[in-house]
């Protein structure tokens, strides 16, 4: 870019033609970078991701009318102006990137390590951090007052859950502050993907968060296809939609049951786990894997659906629909359940907007965003569906958003099944080439962002994935405030953030 006058934030994202993936890519100066951070804080943009790629700090932004941009800033001297000091949702992203790459965000308000727990044997040539020298002394935020006590929970939890630490400060039964400490499931995804073939990286990316394997594979495939200009056959695009919606339905039903289980409605939980099992078995019969892992690949899909498969899917959907509606009716008719869920764990709309919280967390707090509709991609761009939004922001609203989304997804699958035309399911020539691509895909818990850069040999030079959980975990800390400790599992379940997806 020229050394001319500084551009306004609104110019940065709208100037220039978007690349194949719909993102406008632009190099910015430090002043412009700061301007963008202020624009995020003022609500002009949603901060979608922030990552380090080589000598660049990069930000993905989404404007109010859903324009997409990626701004890059050269980090001279290994540092850049912190976005988090202006726009707090960036704080954990910047802490994580500093831990992984040593790039310093100047002015970052929270200097504690995040993914680095001080036990990594090799920090890939980086200087030892404060975390390493001080591994037992992670400083939790101070809470002062009379009659307070702390409850440390995790990283090994009482249930069958992923690892993470929660530090509750309570006054009697009431939570005064919750502070999360995450990073236990950090598996070095970015380091692992570097230098791999696209196919190898797809298997890794499909396991960043196993429950969203389809969504990750979908986003990764689209990012790679945008990077090297691969055209995906029509049939494969429709099959991708079917896979993604099956995944969404199975998890939403499961979550709805788990929320009910946490208010002791065990019968609803049992019914929901049974429905999920039916869906997984149908997935195995139709696509050869219960969770449909590795079924979406760059260039197409790895499984086709025969006539019997179509019939089986229609059957399982109508069976599930009937049973699920009955279960939902019970929820509606049980004051004892709603007594626990209504007004519990309220997330204010303003925070959902500020953090650009995706999925049921955002939509139950009035944030009307769904990447399937607002950053349209195939096959959703040709479909009719509604995005449910509720204003209440409580556990009940998050449960009901799921119910409404299950209904929408069932209708989507039916539309897609009716549009399947015979044809190939994999692009014939899908030779990867140098390039860069990014994509958002709607996982059941919210939008997943993936950006990938390929080198001349078509291998992955850099890949960054941002789970929806990054912008939901911090909000859980706020939603639980003032609730009783015993309602934490319920609130947590209603969010259902991913640990592994967050810990990358």
């Amino acid at each position: 870019m020229s050394a001319s006058a500084m551009r306004e934030p609104s110019e940065i994202a709208s100037n220039g033609a978007p690349d194949r993936d719909g993102f406008v890519r632009t190099e910015v100066t430090a002043e412009e970078w700061n301007g963008l951070a202020y624009a995020c804080a003022e609500g002009q943009y949603d901060l979608t991701a922030l990552w380090i790629d080589g000598d660049r700090a990069r930000m993905a932004l989404l404007s109010r009318n859903h324009g997409r941009a990626i701004a890059s800033l050269r980090c001279d001297g290994g540092h850049y102006p912190s976005v988090g000091r202006i726009h707090p949702p960036a704080i954990r992203l910047e802490r994580a990137m500093r831990d992984l790459y040593g790039t310093i965000p100047i002015g970052l308000p929270d200097e504690r390590p995040w993914l680095d727990h001080g036990v990594w044997p090799a920090r890939r040539g980086l200087e030892p951090t404060a975390a390493m020298e001080d591994k037992q002394k992670y400083r939790f935020l101070p809470v002062e007052g009379e009659g307070l006590h702390q409850i440390p929970v995790g990283p090994v939890h009482a249930g069958i859950i992923e690892p993470g630490h929660f530090r509750f400060t309570a006054n009697g039964e009431t939570v005064v502050r919750l502070e999360e400490r995450l990073g236990y499931a950090h598996k070095g995804i970015e380091a692992l993907c570097a230098g791999r073939s696209v196919e190898e990286a797809a298997r890794i990316v499909g396991r960043i968060s196993g429950d969203s394997t389809i969504a990750y594979a979908f986003a990764f495939a689209r990012a790679v296809e945008a990077a090297c200009g691969i055209e995906v056959p029509a049939r494969a695009q429709i099959l991708r939609g079917i896979l993604a919606e099956l995944e969404r339905i199975s998890h939403h039903i499961n979550d709805f049951g788990a929320i009910c289980n946490d208010v002791s409605a065990a019968a609803i939980h049992a019914s929901c786990t049974l429905l999920r099992e039916r869906l997984l078995q149908a997935a195995e019969r139709c696509f050869g894997h219960r969770m449909m892992m590795d079924r979406i690949l760059p260039g197409g899909v790895a499984a086709d659906l025969g006539e019997d498969g179509i019939g089986r899917l229609r059957q399982v959907l109508s069976d599930c629909e009937r049973s699920f509606e009955m279960v939902v009716r019970i929820y509606d008719e049980s004051p004892s359940i709603q007594d626990r869920t209504v007004t519990t764990g309220i997330l204010r709309a303003e925070l959902a907007r500020q953090f650009a919280a995706g999925g049921h967390v955002g939509r139950a707090s009035g944030r009307d965003f769904d990447s399937r509709r607002d950053t349209p991609y195939s096959p959703y761009d040709a479909l009719e569906f509604e995005v449910p939004v509720r204003p209440q922001g409580d556990v009940d609203a998050r449960a009901r958003i799921r119910v409404e989304e299950v209904r929408q997804s069932m209708a989507i699958i039916r539309q897609l099944l009716g549009r399947l035309e015979p044809g190939p399911v994999r692009a014939t020539s899908s030779t990867p080439a140098a390039g860069e691509g990014a994509a958002l895909a709607e996982a059941f818990r919210g939008d997943v962002f993936i950006t990938v850069r390929l080198d001349e040999a078509g291998r992955v030079a850099h890949c960054h994935a941002r789970d929806a959980s990054w912008f939901q975990w911090p909000l859980l800390e706020v939603a639980i405030e003032g609730n009783i400790v015993a309602d934490f599992p319920l609130c947590n379940k209603s969010f259902n953030c991913s640990y592994s997806g967050h810990d990358i």
Binding site: Y184, A191, R203, R207, A267, A270, T273
Partner: protein, 180 residues
Amino acid sequence: MYKLLFQALLEGTAVTDPPADSPDMLAEAARALAERARRRLGRSLAIREVDAGSCNGCELEIHALNNPVYDVERFGLKFVASPRHADVLLVTGPVTWNMKEALERTYAATSEPKWVAAAGDCAMNCGVFAGSPACVGPVSAVIPVDVHIPGCPPPPLELLRGLLTLVDGTTGEPIRKTSR
């Protein structure tokens, strides 16, 4: 609610189509496991699940063991909340450096006699995460493992079969008592 319970009574046991390849495998595996667990441990096997860094795919399938189709609790296989109550640690994931100490401490907190089942390809050989600088290695690199259950993720039936192997002893000998 009454309607749901009433319907459940009318419908009888929740069953599923048997796996395509072997019709009676589920019932057979379940019965065999129940018998052996009783012989070795009296009436139950208490399992503590530890996620040492998995992608959460294995957790979903372990959860499925408790759904009405598999319902392993009817055989005395019970997931417990504390390692203090456990006979078996069911560990998933490549062990991340950040989870190493927690896994070691959970193992130390489990009372003797104790066994370890490593569930999933990652727990066995790190799976797709092999070579990651953030992972220590498979579960056996951190604590002694008695049985590995392969799969990515292992489906519920394979998990059941793995637990069966564990109760049976991998060599047919009475299962060793791990000491460490």
